[in-house]
């Protein structure tokens, strides 16, 4: 890897960089070269994913080193799979990942914005402004931009489902699943609302929403399931039940198989009667375990995956099925927490602590088959925690994966609204507004600050420009008209991609959380500042 970076860097410093080793240290213009090379590399990344911005953005197909195919429209996903080698370019990849963590949506915009800021910085550098001054100027501009965004945002109430639905739809509209947004948006909104308490919570833990993906059917069949869905199947090899009403659910973290002694432990038999005893002992041991489980009233048993020993063997399954206990094995360790939360049961690590109070109760546990795959549904849970389960269906694995990413983005959008309860409109409207106000502010200042503000304000226009380009519209006429509308006080005018005109985004229901926009501005500015401050690349071991 380091070798690749070194060759990349040396290529970047370009033909003008002298080949003699010692000369590089004496070269006065090396910092500028490095900076420009970084900017070029980072801009290339932004350029690569630019066409996937917006509702009419296109997808990228990536064949990974393992010959797997990924088709995606999500900036963070594309960049993650593209093995970008240049270190400066990698910073943009990380930037997109950071936006994914922070806001979950706007991962493409943040990179495009950073690319545009970098090319603005490049121009300023050529004018001879010092990089630190540019960095500082951009920082102030970003602070002002965030202020402007907050000013033009509208606060919302989480009880207002309409607004949540609209923002989820906006997020979904740019994805491959866009035509299903009427199905998916309510699922997304309801599942987030299920896990938060709107009046108290200021954050939502998306890991409390479980997405189970199954190939088969179409995305239309995706549903939010009341209760819990398990990916694992019921074990039926011993003829156990697959449907249990009024179920008591227990999760065990121990195994129902004969105990394995330590490595060098040998059992010595020297009489034939002892052979019977060994066989009988094994039966009795398992029987005891199963009987205790039955005694506690458990009717559905979830068994954690185990590595060292078999989780169950045919004998214990036989006993379980005789006692009409449904068994599901291979529960992953990291699923346990979620399942416990969802069903209200507690994990049981030892047979002696298998008591009734640790069990969860559900009206129905059933293995159902639909569209060629089987899933276990647990419904009517008493004392259910705040969790939600979504079953995703799709024609093939690619669609399914991409749909999951889209749903994840939409979930994050709603989470952003829980975190920061304010909305801005979409369609490039806030960016134009920022651009205009900043350029006014620039006129009130003097010195490099004024120039930086002006450059920042122009750079932000890349979002509406790209939106227009990707939609097959003329960017010049669209952006100039937008400017004009905003100058006339229409703060919510944005690009109507469907009709190819400018219209009021609020009426078109194109809205997005404030947090997505603010964090995009903040994160991209910070990355740009960091890149500007670098003046040398050294390959280290």
């Amino acid at each position: 890897m380091s070798a690749a970076v070194a060759t990349g860097a040396s290529k970047m410093t370009g033909p003008s960089a002298p080949k003699k080793q010692n000369d590089t240290f004496n070269q006065m213009d090396k910092p500028t070269q490095v900076r420009l090379s970084n900017i070029t590399a980072a801009k290339a990344v932004a350029d690569a994913i630019r066409t996937s911005l917006g509702p009419r953005g296109m997808d990228k197909m990536i064949e990974t080193g393992k010959k797997e195919v990924v088709i995606s429209n999500d900036g963070a996903t594309i960049l993650k799979h593209m093995s970008v080698l240049h270190p400066a370019a990698r910073m943009l990849v990380d930037l997109s990942a950071a936006q994914d963590v922070e806001a979950g949506d706007g991962t493409t915009s943040v990179v495009v914005l950073a690319g545009s800021l970098l090319s603005a910085a490049e121009k300023l550098l050529k004018k001879g402004i010092h990089p630190t001054q540019i960095a500082e100027g951009f920082q102030y501009a970003a602070i002002e931009a965030v202020k402007i965004l907050e000013e033009i945002s509208t606060p919302i109430n989480l009880e207002d489902r309409e607004f949540l639905l609209k923002s989820a739809t906006t997020s979904l509209s740019s994805k491959v699943v866009s035509q299903y947004s009427s199905v998916l948006a309510p699922i997304v909104v309801d599942s987030v609302l299920r896990i938060v308490n709107p009046s108290v919570d200021t954050n939502a833990d998306i890991s409390d929403i479980r997405i189970v993906k199954k190939v088969g059917g179409t995305i239309d069949d995706t549903e939010l399931v009341p209760g819990l869905v398990l990916n694992q199947n019921v074990i039926t090899s011993a003829g156990g039940p697959t449907r249990i009403e009024k179920a008591k659910i227990g999760i065990i973290q121990f195994q129902l198989s004969p105990p394995k002694p330590d490595m060098d432990n040998q059992i010595v038999v020297n009489d034939y009667r002892q052979m019977d005893r060994i066989l009988k002992e094994e039966r009795n041991y398992l029987l005891n375990l199963v009987k205790k489980i039955k005694k506690a009233g458990c009717t559905v048993l979830l068994i954690q995956k185990s590595i060292l020993r078999d989780a169950v063997n045919s004998l214990s399954l036989h006993f379980l099925s005789k006692l009409k206990i449904m068994a599901i094995k291979e529960i992953e360790r990291d699923e346990i927490e979620f399942i416990c939360k969802a069903t209200g049961c507690k994990p049981i690590a030892d047979i002696d602590s298998f008591t009734e109070d640790k069990l969860g109760y559900a009206d129905l546990v059933e293995e159902v088959e639909s569209n060629g795959s089987r899933i276990v549904q647990i419904s009517g849970i008493k004392n259910a925690g705040k969790t939600a389960s979504i079953i995703m269906r799709g024609a093939n694995q690619y669609v399914l994966d991409e749909a999951e990413r889209s749903i994840h983005d939409a979930l994050c959008v709603i989470r952003c609204l829980v975190k920061k309860r304010a909305l801005v409109v979409g369609g490039g409207a806030p960016e134009i507004e920022i651009s205009q106000r900043l350029s006014q502010l620039a006129k009130t200042q003097t010195g490099f600050q004024s120039i930086c503000f002006q450059a920042f304000s122009e750079a932000v226009e890349v979002i509406p420009t790209t939106l227009a380009e990707n939609s097959g519209l003329s960017p010049i006429s669209i952006v100039t008209e937008l400017r004009n509308r905003h100058a006339n006080g229409e703060k919510t005018a944005g690009i109507n991609v469907r009709k190819g005109t400018i219209s009021d985004m609020l009426k078109e229901n194109v809205i997005q959380p404030l947090l997505v926009s603010t964090s995009a501005i903040e994160l991209s500015t910070e990355t740009v500042r960091m890149l500007l401050k670098i003046d040398d690349i050294l390959a280290s071991r």
């Binding site: 996937s52 690319g115 010595v268 036989h318």
Partner: protein
């Protein structure tokens, strides 16, 4: 403003560990890949389609006419091609038929979409148009073309099976196998707990026996197992057997790993050996005492114990494949016994896990002995014995028969059929073209292309049959236009059922001629083909990364 990115065009500055293709070029590549896949299988469409012979790297030969089978065996490298292969497989698992058509339509949609994009129509517009067209098309099929099977009766089912079979190797024996498919599937009808009828295709047991001609294939109710009785000392047939299906070995018991047997007296050796034998002997006794007279085991039974069974007048079959064992258990009301242990910690056999049937017998088919269970208590099973000249033929017969079973199942469960022979596609073409003119937006063009893309099916059908496709299709379109412009009750509206007659090279009423397909299969086919085409059209950038370097094994020092 938009110029800021132009300077560093594409790959020049982006260092990625691989190659990158963007824009029109990648679209062209993808479409090319899809078309070449479709080209491979398009000549196998329809009743007069031809077969492909596929030879893999070890020299195994498969001869097939089934789109999914052919594509599965092709080693497709191109990622867009892989999407089409997956599409065919998905159609195969969900519907079981129409695998060739789905690929042809998807490829045609791609080709036409690409043409539109080349003419400067934005891909997003094409995609919206395709979606709209697909939605309208599905609605049209459901509202206008679909006919309820209830009205048509069993003949309709046979016709559906016929239509599927006609394009396959069994085509020349159409009615014979079609009736067999309908009968064998009707026999396995079950109700789920909601009372909805289910027709599990898997419950139809297809056996392939080499020798004799396809014509001599036969069908009977009952379950046949490609295994003989374990010992020739056993009876050839047994009336009212009590059946146990077991999933454990009846062999000398071995102690588990970690158990050492240490003796200090040679006499004890004999005792241990005897005990090893006795533990299993006791199990045999438990089975026999419970009244079991027929044992189906998924594992082995030692000769010693086989003798015990034979002496008691019981029959055994060993090494029964697990799937078969499960089906036998289900059919006879037995349960698959994995162990004899009971809740008291001892061993016994529960009476409830014993199943019954009317007869178990061993019959001779060609060179092999086959065990047949007849009159199972719980669920009837059907067994179809396919006869054919060689393995390739038998394999292809099985696939064809399976396809027709799937088609019949779809019709039985969804209850609607549409006329085949390109009539639905032509009707949709006519309908969508007139629908497109009602729209004033750019999507109109995409819808027209979608409509014309569907015509590729009747076109290909007639080309494969070496008929004059232009003449036939223009005539067919004229008929369908007449049908759609006519009033619902005028006699001309019946023209909507007209489709191709590929043997005569003319057009006819395909409902009357009995060329029918499940409506659901057509709808699903359109939906998945559109989905796949859209999936590929949306791509405007392809990045191929270099294969990952194998990490050097730190332990593999020389």
């Amino acid at each position: 403003m938009s110029g800021i990115f132009d300077k560093n065009n594409q790959d020049s500055a982006l260092f990625i560990g691989g190659s990158r293709v963007s824009g029109q070029e990648v679209r062209a590549q993808n479409v090319m890949a899809a078309l070449s896949i479709a080209n491979v299988i398009k000549t196998s469409l329809g009743p007069v389609g031809l077969d492909k012979m596929l030879v893999d790297d070890v020299g195994d030969v498969t001869i097939s006419n089934d789109g999914a089978t052919i594509l599965q065996l092709l080693e497709v490298e191109h990622p867009a091609g892989k999407i089409l292969v997956k599409l065919a497989q998905q159609q195969d698992t969900e519907v079981g038929d129409g695998t060739t058509s789905v690929v042809i339509i998807a490829a045609e949609l791609l080709r036409r979409g690409n043409e539109l994009i080349k003419n400067h129509i934005h891909p997003a517009t094409v995609i919206t148009g395709y979606r709209l067209a697909c939605k309208e098309a599905c609605k049209f099929i459901a509202d206008q073309m679909a006919l309820s099977v209830d009205k048509l009766g069993k003949e309709a089912l046979v016709s559906v099976a016929m239509t599927t079979i006609s394009s396959k190797i069994l085509g020349s024996y159409g009615t014979f196998f079609a009736e067999m498919a309908v009968d064998s599937l009707s026999a396995v009808k079950t109700l789920d707990f909601r009372g909805k009828p289910k027709y599990p295709v898997k419950a139809v047991n297809i056996m392939k026996v080499k020798g004799a001609s396809a014509r001599e294939s036969s069908y009977f109710t009952g379950y046949a197992l490609y295994r003989p009785f374990t010992s020739s000392a056993m009876k050839r047939s047994l009336k009212n057997p009590k059946i146990a299906v077991i999933d454990f070995d009846i062999t000398k018991t071995r102690m588990k790993m970690g158990v050492n047997i240490v003796i200090d007296n040679p006499d004890q050796l004999e005792a241990i050996r005897k005990r090893e034998a006795d533990i299993s002997a006791e199990r045999v006794r438990i089975l026999l005492e419970a009244g079991v007279t027929a044992v189906f085991s998924t594992r082995g039974i030692d000769d010693m114990y086989v003798k015990m069974f034979a002496e008691a007048g019981a029959v055994t079959v060993t090494r029964v494949p697990k799937d078969d064992a499960r089906r036998i258990a289900k059919g006879t009301g037995a349960s698959l016994v994995t162990t004899l242990a009971n809740l008291e910690g001892d061993e016994s056999l529960d009476a409830s896990s014993i199943g019954t049937a009317e007869l178990v017998e061993q019959v001779r088919l060609s060179d092999d002995d086959v065990v047949v269970i007849r009159g199972a208590k719980e669920q009837q099973a059907s067994t179809v014995i396919l006869r054919g000249a060689n393995d390739y033929m038998l394999d292809e017969m099985e696939r064809s028969f399976h396809d027709s079973l799937c088609a019949v199942k779809r019709v039985l469960e969804s209850g609607a059929v549409v006329p085949g022979g390109g009539s639905v596609e032509t009707a949709l073409d006519v309908y969508l073209e007139s629908f497109a003119t009602t729209l004033g937006s750019r999507e109109q063009l995409a819808i027209v292309e979608f409509a014309n893309g569907l015509l590729s099916i009747p076109k290909q059908l007639s080309i494969n049959a070496a008929k004059d496709s232009i003449r036939l299709i223009s005539k067919l379109r004229a008929y369908h236009t007449a049908a759609q412009t006519a009033d619902a009750d005028s006699p001309r509206s019946a023209l909507k059922n007209y489709g191709l007659d590929l043997h005569e090279g003319k057009i006819r009423d395909n409902v009357k001629a009995g060329v029918l397909e499940p409506a659901m299969s057509k709808i699903k086919m359109l939906k998945s083909a559109t989905e796949a085409a859209i999936n590929i059209l949306r791509i405007d950038d392809m990045i191929k990364l270099l294969p990952e370097q194998q990490k050097e094994d730190p332990h593999a020092h020389m």
